[in-house]
């Protein structure tokens, strides 16, 4: 049976973890949090059609360890419209789920327009 302790130790073997800056917007006052072990799935580059315009998509998944997001027990949650900056690129959270026995946030994101 997978426990939180096992899940957290398994995160140690994930390659290419990177620091990330997360801006949470639970209310009108944004909260900035720095984490050190985020990781990203390869980008899916595609076009989406909006109002007749074909717009580059770049939908992907970023994972954030909950123990780094909540290193002090603030009870922070990732929500749509929060921002994650990773390796100089800012991504917008479309949806977020706390997965793997509540140890890691799986965020579906799209790159901010540049």
């Amino acid at each position: 049976m997978l426990t939180q302790a096992t899940a957290q130790s398994l995160m140690g073997i994930v390659p290419e973890k990177r620091p990330a800056t997360i801006v949470l917007t639970p209310d009108s006052n944004p909260t900035t949090i720095n984490v050190f072990s985020a990781w990203i799935k390869p980008l899916t580059v595609r076009l989406t059609k909006d109002g007749g315009l074909n717009l580059q998509g770049d939908e992907t998944i970023i994972k954030i360890p909950d123990r780094e997001l909540n290193s002090v027990s603030h009870g922070y949650e990732l929500r749509p419209q929060d921002r994650i900056t990773l390796a100089g690129t800012t991504y917008i959270v479309l949806s977020a789920s706390l997965k793997t026995v509540r140890t890691v946030w799986e965020c579906i994101v799209r790159k901010e327009l540049t």
């Binding site: 109002g51 007749g52 315009l53 717009l55 327009l113 540049t114």
Partner: protein, 146 residues
């Protein structure tokens, strides 16, 4: 080359009209075959002008056919760089200039009619922090049967 295609000439005429407005903080418009934006492709914000949908047939005369050519005019930019008021003023200026007018440089054109699209497309707004605002211009021509 002007005179080959009324649809193409309509798009270049619309580009001239939009650029002549010299709207503040808006880059020159671009004629595209299909409306698209990929990151870094153009300086933002700009106006994309492209063919839209199929032609529509209109009133027929004894020797001429009425044709409507669709052109998508779409403003693309980042939502936080200019104010909403500024971006809406671009749209208002373009709509006012193009609606119920004729293209004097094109002898077979009788009128332009605007079909407004969403003022702010919601998906790019939420998912890419982008401002996408489009309208369709229907250009009515009476073309000789040949």
């Amino acid at each position: 080359m002007p005179g080959l295609s009324n649809h193409y000439d309509t798009m270049t005429a619309i580009k001239s009209i939009v650029d002549a407005l010299s709207l503040p903080d808006l880059n020159a418009s671009v004629v595209q075959e299909v409306a698209e934006y990929q990151d870094g492709q153009q300086s933002l914000p700009f106006v994309s002008i492209s063919p839209y949908g199929p032609e529509q047939t209109g009133d027929e005369l004894n020797d001429r056919d009425g044709i409507y050519y669709g052109t998508l005019v779409c403003i693309i930019g980042k939502k936080n760089v200019t104010s909403l008021e500024q971006r809406l003023s671009w749209r208002q200026s373009i709509r006012r200039k193009l609606n119920n007018t004729s293209l004097s440089s094109l002898g077979m054109n009788y009128n332009l009619k605007i079909e407004p699209g969403n003022v702010v497309e919601p998906r790019p707004f939420f998912e890419r922090a982008a401002f996408v605002s489009g309208m369709i211009v229907r250009a009515f021509f009476q073309e000789p049967r040949s």
